[in-house]
């Protein structure tokens, strides 16, 4: 692998950022990450990132919840087979409520757990290249630029509207 250096560029305007990403992708420069203060679906499309698989965690949690809800209720009722209020000892009708609540609870927990797992959170240390302006109003793009093309890339980015283009470490 030819030597690459991490370069951080800061953009204020979103359209500029998108234009820069297109240009960099044309030159086959690796874009490591883009930090944004808000969620921008166009960025995901531009960076060719697929839809998050977190929904499968949620679905699994939901199914587990339904099964657990019914299982818990049926198991506990089967211990003594009491006939309460003239109803069958193991009635299905009220257990739907339990199954539903457990479904929601488990899907929520799995949803959150899945999100944390996939997003690699919590992070104990912020990355070295992190700039506090990312949560303010700037977009920070980290790319791995081959040493030879550094100057050229820097100029191109500045022309496209980058406020700063900094080398890191």
């Amino acid at each position: 692998m030819s030597a690459t250096r991490p370069v951080l560029s800061i953009f204020a305007d979103f359209d500029d950022l998108l234009a820069a990403i297109t240009a960099l992708q044309a030159k086959k420069i690796e874009i490591a990450d883009v930090h944004a203060p808000t969620f921008q679906p166009e960025l995901l499309t531009a960076l060719k990132l697929k839809r998050s698989p977190v929904r499968f965690f949620t679905l699994t949690g939901g199914i587990l919840g339904i099964l657990s809800g019914f299982a818990l209720a049926i198991y506990t009722a089967s211990q003594w087979h009491f006939i309460v209020g003239g109803k069958p000892p193991v009635p299905r009708v009220p257990y739907v409520i339990l199954a539903f609540e457990f479904c929601i609870l488990f899907s929520v927990l799995c949803n959150l757990g899945g999100m944390l797992l996939l997003a690699r959170l919590p992070k104990h240390k912020l990355p070295a290249h992190y700039d506090a302006r990312c949560t303010e109003d700037r977009f920070c793009m980290l790319l791995h630029c081959p040493v030879a093309e550094r100057q050229e890339i820097g100029q191109m980015l500045r022309k496209l509207g980058a406020e700063e283009v900094n080398d890191l470490g």
């Binding site: 204020a12 808000t38 960076l47 998050s52």
Partner: protein, 451 residues
């Protein structure tokens, strides 16, 4: 109902919202102390009740449920509109939701926590409350999962967990903003809760879908939780309680009272925290319009219940509805009807729903009316059921109950004041998302800052 986003830059959004978290004034401390006192009074009354017994609460045969249940249902109801605003309106993409969502969610979390206290308060032997949980034991005893009271336990704990996690998850990017602006201990503390959020695309990708799913899951949960609470009554066979409409009726009523509480909280808050540019009058107007809708549903429920009570031909049903209107609790019944269904009609007039003072007064009246609606529903049926020999009245609330009522409201405002001080009351990130235009004209100059 599409409102233009406030004319601010992203930096200004951060500044405005975080300014509300600046070191507080003496007034703030005074209110905080007052609320803490109220909460302590409530705690003291509860301690006295535990020591002396439930008899001090004015509950007696035949009305075995009194203000504790009323407060329970009331607070769960308040919680619901918080989730409605933050989850349901998110799903509908209503733009006026954004400035309200964070405070509404906070309201939900605090209201559910307080509601969850009331089953404990209602217990004589609080120390054995854990018996209600399904844990394996030597005698192989298990709670009865057919009971609506058990549904309550599961539903309320689920709701508390989910709303807490939803609230927290929504705050993660905002906590990162605070972390980045703070120093020292503040930075470490907020940084811990921000989980190392950097706004990278990998994080946003999973976060945005997870948040959407949260909202999609919270919505049916809201409906189911208050349906479960309503089934505490509807699954009995007491006249006036046993009615199939209870579940949607309670849900609509909950949203009605919750929206009124949102107005009661946010109207002073926007003034005190100087958020008038963010929580604008058109947004409050939209809340008012939704209140009209929920008020109409509550009116429909009252009419249907009264009609079907007559239609059923059932002596006890007809009796209880007649008694509610003319019997011992009649003043409260008419107060409830007036405040919940007639007063909100004033909001049909634009002048009324765009002025702060009428909005505030109406919200207070609705809260009062909804509290008394639970009073009328919960107390009248046991007081006047099928057997005339067992008719009796509830002569509460006693001073203990008043104390605990005061304590619950004080605790709520105490928690809300703490929230307003330490956490962003408006979601900065979501507000900033609204500001960034989705489309930019090609002719805009490439250089230059954010609009």
């Amino acid at each position: 109902m599409n409102q233009p986003a406030p004319k601010m830059t992203q930096r200004q959004v951060n500044d405005t919202i975080m300014a509300a978290m600046s070191p507080p004034t003496k007034e703030y401390y005074a209110w905080l102390a007052l609320c803490l006192c109220g909460a302590l009074i409530g705690g003291g009354c509860w301690a006295y009740q535990i020591a002396t017994g439930l008899g001090v609460a004015g509950i007696n045969h035949p009305t075995m449920w009194g203000t504790y249940l009323i407060n329970f249902v009331f607070w769960v109801g308040i919680a619901h509109s918080g989730t409605l605003i933050s989850a349901v309106l998110y799903l509908f993409g209503a733009p006026w939701r954004t400035p309200l969502a964070r405070s509404a969610e906070a309201m939900t979390v605090f209201a559910v926590s307080i509601a969850g206290l009331f089953p404990f308060i209602h217990m004589g032997r609080v120390w054995i409350v854990y018996w209600i949980l399904p844990y394996p034991n030597q005698r192989n005893l298990w709670p009865n999962f057919q009971s609506p009271l058990l549904f309550d336990v599961i539903a309320i704990s689920t709701y508390l967990t989910v709303s807490l996690l939803f609230w927290y998850t929504g705050m993660i990017p905002d906590l990162a903003i605070i972390r980045d602006r703070a120093k020292g201990l503040r930075q470490k503390l907020y940084g811990f809760f921000a989980l190392g959020w950097t706004g990278s695309q990998n994080q946003w990708r999973h976060y945005s879908l997870a948040y959407l799913l949260f909202a999609a899951l919270a919505t049916p949960l809201v409906v189911s939780v208050h349906s479960v609470v309503s089934w505490d009554f509807a699954l009995s066979i007491a006249p006036g309680w046993h009615s199939t409409i209870f579940a949607p009726y309670f849900v609509a009523g909950a949203i009605h009272s919750g929206l009124a509480m949102v107005l009661t909280l946010l109207i002073p808050m926007r003034r005190i925290l100087k958020l008038e540019e963010v929580i604008t009058i058109p947004i409050l107007e939209n809340v008012a319009k939704t209140i009209i809708f929920t008020g109409l549903i509550v009116a429909y429920s009252y009419l249907t219940e009264a009609f079907i009570a007559w239609y059923s031909g059932n002596v006890a049903e007809r009796g209880i509805f007649h008694w509610r209107a003319v019997g011992h609790y009649a003043p409260f019944f008419w107060l409830m009807v007036t405040c919940n269904t007639i007063v909100p009609l004033a909001l049909y007039f634009k002048k009324v729903r765009t002025s702060i003072v009428p909005l505030f007064i109406i919200s207070l009246l609705i809260n009062l009316g909804m509290w008394y609606e639970r009073f009328v529903i919960i107390l009248s049926s046991p007081a006047h059921d099928q057997d005339p020999y067992s008719w009796g009245l509830y002569f509460g609330p006693t001073w203990v109950e008043y104390g605990i009522l005061l304590g619950s409201f004080s605790l709520f405002f105490f928690l809300f004041l703490l929230f307003a001080r330490f956490l962003p009351t408006v979601s900065m990130t979501e507000l900033k998302e609204e500001l960034t235009p989705r489309r930019r004209a090609q002719s805009q100059p490439k250089s230059g800052g954010q609009p």
